[in-house]
Amino acid sequence: MFRNQYDSDVTLWSPQGRLFQVEYAMEAVNQGTVTVGLKSEDFAVLVGLHRPYTEMGVLQPKILSIDSHVGISLSGLSSDARQLASYLRTECTAFRHSYDTTYPVSKLVKTLGNKMQANTQRYDRRPYGVGLLLAGYDEVGSHIWQIMPSANVFNCKAMAIGSRAQSARTYLDRFKATFPFCSKDELICHGIQSIHQSHFTTDEMRVSIGVVGKEHPFKILTNEEVESYQRFCLFAVNPDSSQDTEIDENQSNQSI
């Protein structure tokens, strides 16, 4: 009942102690297609589902590389994601210039969180409308971090965000105990299969895959590599799935 009175401004609290503008920004993440991140001891993998392909468009990137040891996948407003990627890249290169080494991943995400928090506390800015999954590898090990428009930054064993991500999360939860011991290929397969859980249209499932790990700089796999992984993994998945085929016509074109 009170919701509409207190949602006009990000600097306005509701009587229940909620910032509705920030919560609405979190909804923007669900406008983008699902993306998952998972890690083992030595590798961190990102898999992102592409929006159904239209013949006139070229697929917008779902996964962006930040530095040799860090990459992100995004869900939500891709323009906001570009800004954040630019910020992360600048931070990483500046750090390399000063300290002659790669930016420790947990420090990097903390500075990103601090930057995003500023937008939730100013009358003249809006929260970033994109959720990121950040995969990294540094001296501490492999990382998967979830970064949300609320500026919360979560360290994850595995995570899925985006439209209908709950099915992917359920899959990841089921297998999470095995991830630390998986090989790189097994991790990628788990990622693809979890995406498949959230893929509800009859269109061909097009994904992007990014991998980073020990002695393995961040790499976005080529189309050929992605296709061969998809062929290999989806053998096990029942092709005669009885899920309903829904196409959500209200999905905004701003989000990928």
Binding site: D100, T101, P104, S106, K107, K110, E139, V140
Partner: protein
């Protein structure tokens, strides 16, 4: 932002001989922070003279770690003013810093470095700065200061081990020049200790800990005998995968009995 004053053509109203052009566009001297202004007319020159100075620092890398030694004297010109000052510092569990040159500048840069270490601790993510990264950062800071004609008049040895236990030994000077090697030294040590250690280096392997310690002892002895701005007391920092600390003070084994054989003594 548009400035009201246009930049002067450079062939008119240039600076007096020996002075610098003011390249700050239309900004008046008063608006800029002190460090960015060129030398002024009323004695606000940035001095490149050191006041209280530390003399040599010697660093030697051995298989498994590094040793850094410096005497405990800070001079005031030719006066041996402060005779009990540690010039080798433990920065964190992986880094030692040996400071020579203007000691106020050493203390100033050390304070900045300590603040960085505290920030690292506050992050609490198990990552500490490595010696190579600190050396790189110092290079950037010192080069920047030198380029603004306001140097930190220091010559430092940065030493330690990285997360895999691989030793690092580097030297950064007041102009932001950095290099790393198995032996580095500053001040008189560059002339006396460097050739001494280089001569003894086995071709195919690193020094052992015993060889490195003996060399440190010998270098500090030679430096005491020959450098007039030194005293026979020194501290030694050791950094390996298992230990990082500053030991001492030690005394040089001085032997002046040969003096009696000198004619006219």
């Amino acid at each position: 932002m548009m400035n009201n004053a246009f930049a002067q053509p450079m062939w008119l109203n240039g600076p007096a001989p020996g002075q610098f052009y003011n390249f700050m566009g239309g900004n008046t001297q008063a608006e800029l922070p002190r460090e960015l202004t060129t030398a002024g007319p009323f004695g606000t020159k940035h001095s490149t003279a050191a006041i209280t100075t530390g003399s040599s620092v010697v660093g030697i890398r051995y298989a498994g770690g590094v040793l850094v030694a410096a005497d405990t004297l800070v001079s005031y010109g030719s006066l041996a003013r402060y005779q009990n000052i540690d010039r080798v510092f433990k920065i964190n569990d992986k880094i030692l810093l040996g400071g020579s040159g203007d000691f106020a500048d050493i203390q100033s840069i050390k304070r900045s470095i300590d603040q960085k270490m505290i920030e690292d601790q506050c992050c609490n993510d198990g990552v500490v700065m490595k010696p190579k990264s600190l050396a790189s950062w110092l290079t950037r800071v010192l080069y920047n200061r030198r380029s603004r004609m306001n140097p930190l008049y220091i010559d430092v040895v940065v030493a330690g081990v990285d997360e895999a236990g691989v030793p690092f030994l580097g030297n950064v000077d007041l102009r932001g020049r950095a290099y790393d090697d198995y032996v580095v030294a500053t001040g008189f040590g560059r002339h006396l200790a460097l050739p001494l250690v280089r001569e003894r280096k086995p071709k195919d392997r690193d020094f052992t800990f015993e060889e490195a310690s003996n060399l440190i002892r010998e270098c500090m002895k030679v430096l005491y005998y020959r450098d007039t701005r030194s005293i026979p007391q020194y501290t030694v920092g050791i950094c390996s995968a298992s230990d990082c600390s500053v030991k001492g003070p030690f005394k040089v084994e001085e032997n002046w009995t040969f003096a009696e054989t000198v004619e006219g003594y």
